[in-house]
């Protein structure tokens, strides 16, 4: 096959791969946004479902990214052997023919990854807060039922420190 035709094919495949990555990152972004909502609304069922979907999404993304990396390596091996910097930006500088589509895709993908990263950070911070608050609440409730935790009625009598939902026959 003609060398330049093969290279053009590889660049086209790279473009398709990037389009696919953009779509996947858009979905990943939405998943993260949905998880934030699930945490805020204390919707455990929805949160667990989204975590599973997130795991699957990351598996897909990892596969696509490995594919993406391999395609770039292959293009550099064919067109620019000896080059050590294997990035899309560098490729765009070296290409003879116009590569407007590739440039646009690069910008879109970069923007989408940054937005997704930002949403991820927001969710991580929220989860950290939720865990700490939950932990503090659990500890406080636990301490209610401790013998050392003294409570009194407003007439000065000591209150029972038992933390139980079962009726107890005290006389027995």
């Amino acid at each position: 096959m003609d060398e330049s035709l093969r290279s053009r094919n590889k660049i086209n495949q790279l473009s398709m791969n990037m389009e696919h990555l953009i779509e996947e990152y858009e979905e990943a972004h939405q998943l993260l946004s949905d998880q934030i909502e699930a945490v805020i609304y204390n919707d455990l069922t929805r949160l667990n479902k989204l975590i599973e979907q997130q795991l699957t999404k990351y598996d897909n993304l990892e596969g696509l990214e490995n594919d993406f990396k391999q395609k770039i390596e292959s293009i550099f091996d064919d067109l620019f052997p000896g080059e050590t910097t294997h990035t899309i930006t560098h490729m765009l500088k070296k290409l003879d023919q116009p590569a407007d589509k590739l440039e646009i895709l690069r910008e879109r993908l970069h923007k989408q990854v940054m937005m997704t990263q930002k949403m991820r950070r927001q969710l991580v911070d929220l989860l950290e807060f939720a865990r700490e608050h939950n932990k503090e609440t659990l500890l406080s409730i636990y301490n209610l039922g401790q013998k050392d935790s003294e409570r009194y009625t407003n007439t000065g009598k000591r209150k029972s420190a038992e933390l139980t939902s079962v009726s107890i026959n005290k006389k027995a």
């Binding site: 990555l21 945490v39 805020i40 609304y41 204390n42 455990l44 949160l47 667990n48 975590i51 997130q54 795991l55 990351y58 993304l61 990892e62 990214e65 993406f68 990396k69 770039i72 294997h86 930006t89 690069r106 993908l109 970069h110 990854v113 940054m114 997704t116 990263q117 991820r120 927001q122 969710l123 991580v124 911070d125 929220l126 989860l127 950290e128 807060f129 939720a130 865990r131 608050h133 939950n134 932990k135 503090e136 609440t137 659990l138 406080s140 409730i141 209610l144 039922g145 407003n154 029972s160 420190a161 038992e162 933390l163 139980t164 939902s165 009726s167 107890i168 026959n169 005290k170 006389k171």
Partner: protein
């Protein structure tokens, strides 16, 4: 225990849950009604007495609900303080960003660049009177821009001080309102008919206060609140302290003083933010701007005073060496009045000699200030408010989400079973941890992809 007792406990639990749902529905439908008081179903213990035996439960779900509410209230108040601080800083940084307008035709970096370009043009034809006039004009534009940026930042500083003073007034006003609410609540408790509306208003006022200043409060047994600001009691019972603000504009200091003479730290909230911006960030920007102006005056003068103008052998400074701040920088009057005195030549009487003009032009790209060129210093300075703003906006989003989570938790009515509540909380804890683990493992992936792009 008899079977009938067990069934009775189960049935009362179901009835209580139904009642709880009815109360929740009422809360939701009236949520936007002004003055509507949120109600909670009271699920207190049922005690049976039979033949001298007392069959009763231990700690009630009601107590657990109150504990959760109190913890959530404390956290919400804390979030209000954090958000008040972040939003106010974002507002001021937004104004400061506008003051620089970098990159446009009005930006300081452009003005400095034009100044050096004018010297470069002069080096191509040192005798050209028109080029000399243009250089004087560009120099004056640069000076005007320095002064303009400085003045805008100073104005923002003044506005920040005024806002802080007004906020102190608001704090005092809220403390008085809380004192009045304390009176109402205490009186109602005394008649054994709690005033729920006043209690809800009390919490709203505490949130309002915490947005302005770092607030700590304790609710006493009669429902009144004791409020501490900066670890000092400012409200106890019906006694509210008054805070005065003292401004030392010359030294960029704002002090808060209680009526007992003691100084108070704002700690956070919008008042804390304004104080921090007035005392640290704004003076920091002004100092950095002055540093650039001083550097420019001294470096250009050092080269210029070694050169000669067209008409005589007098060596002159380009800028007035006594004025080295952004608001005072000015041309040497002799240069402003007579552009022929601009030193382009390194030797007297050599009108075609351009060595000094070239040397001054080269200052543009030399790393003469803080290891960078003048223009890069200005770009970095101009970018600072915008960078801070981006970081603050991210933090605001996170804190808002956390606050919404707490508010939603308070809106959820607790179940009737403590074990169920605790189990749910543990399930949530596990899910939070699982989600966090998935997210942390993915970070590497983002970094790898960005590295390839």
């Amino acid at each position: 225990m008899s079977m009938s007792n067990i069934f009775e406990i189960a049935r009362s639990g179901l009835l209580a849950a139904q009642k709880a749902t009815a109360v929740t529905s009422q809360n939701i439908s009236n949520a936007n009604t002004p003055g509507f008081t949120r109600q909670r179903p009271k699920l207190s213990t049922n005690v049976l007495r039979s033949g001298g035996e007392v069959l009763g439960q231990g700690v009630s779900i009601d107590l657990v609900q109150r504990l959760r509410d109190n913890l959530a209230d404390k956290q919400i108040v804390k979030k209000e303080t954090e958000l008040g601080d972040l939003n106010e800083k974002a507002r001021v940084f937004d104004q400061l960003e506008t003051a620089f307008i970098s990159g446009s035709e009005f930006g300081l970096d452009v003005a400095v660049s034009d100044f050096f370009n004018a010297f470069s043009d002069l080096s191509n034809n040192p005798q050209d009177a028109n080029l000399r006039n243009i250089l004087v004009s560009k120099s004056q534009s640069m000076i005007d821009t320095f002064r303009n940026v400085d003045q805008q930042i100073e104005t923002i500083g003044q506005q920040t001080l005024t806002k802080a003073t007004n906020t102190v007034g608001k704090v005092n006003s809220i403390l008085k309102e809380l004192a009045s609410l304390n009176k109402n609540i205490a009186a109602a408790e005394g008649t054994k008919q709690p005033n729920q509306h006043s209690k809800d208003l009390q919490m709203e006022k505490l949130k309002e206060l915490s947005e302005l200043i770092d607030t700590d409060f304790t609710t006493t047994t009669d429902g009144t609140v004791e409020v501490r600001l900066g670890n000092m009691v400012v409200l106890a019972g019906q006694e509210a302290s008054e805070i005065k603000s003292e401004a030392d504009a010359a030294n960029s200091i704002i002090r808060l003083r209680l009526d007992n003479g003691k100084l108070l730290q704002a700690g956070g909230g919008s008042l804390g933010a304004d104080i921090e911006m007035f005392e640290q960030e704004i003076p920091g920007l002004l100092n950095s701007l002055d540093e650039v102006a001083k550097g420019l005056v001294e470096e250009v003068n050092t080269v210029h005073t070694s050169g000669f103008g067209l008409n005589d052998a007098v060596q002159r400074s380009f800028f007035n060496p006594a004025q080295t701040t952004a608001d005072s920088i000015e041309l040497n009057e002799q240069i402003a009045n007579q552009p022929a005195h601009i030193a382009a030549s390194s030797a007297a009487g050599e009108s075609g000699n351009n060595a000094i003009a070239i040397a001054i032009t080269q200052l543009r790209d030399e790393n003469v200030l803080n290891g960078q060129s003048f223009i890069n210093n200005i770009i970095q300075l101009s970018a600072k408010p915008g960078t801070e703003l981006t970081g603050l906006q991210r933090s605001v989003e996170t804190k808002e989400s956390a606050k919404q989570l707490l508010v939603k938790q308070q809106e959820n009515v607790a179940g009737v079973n403590i074990d169920e509540e605790l189990t749910n909380m543990i399930k949530f804890q596990n899910s939070y941890q699982a989600s966090a683990r998935v997210l942390n493992n993915a970070q590497q992936m983002y970094d790898t992809l960005l590295g390839i792009l």
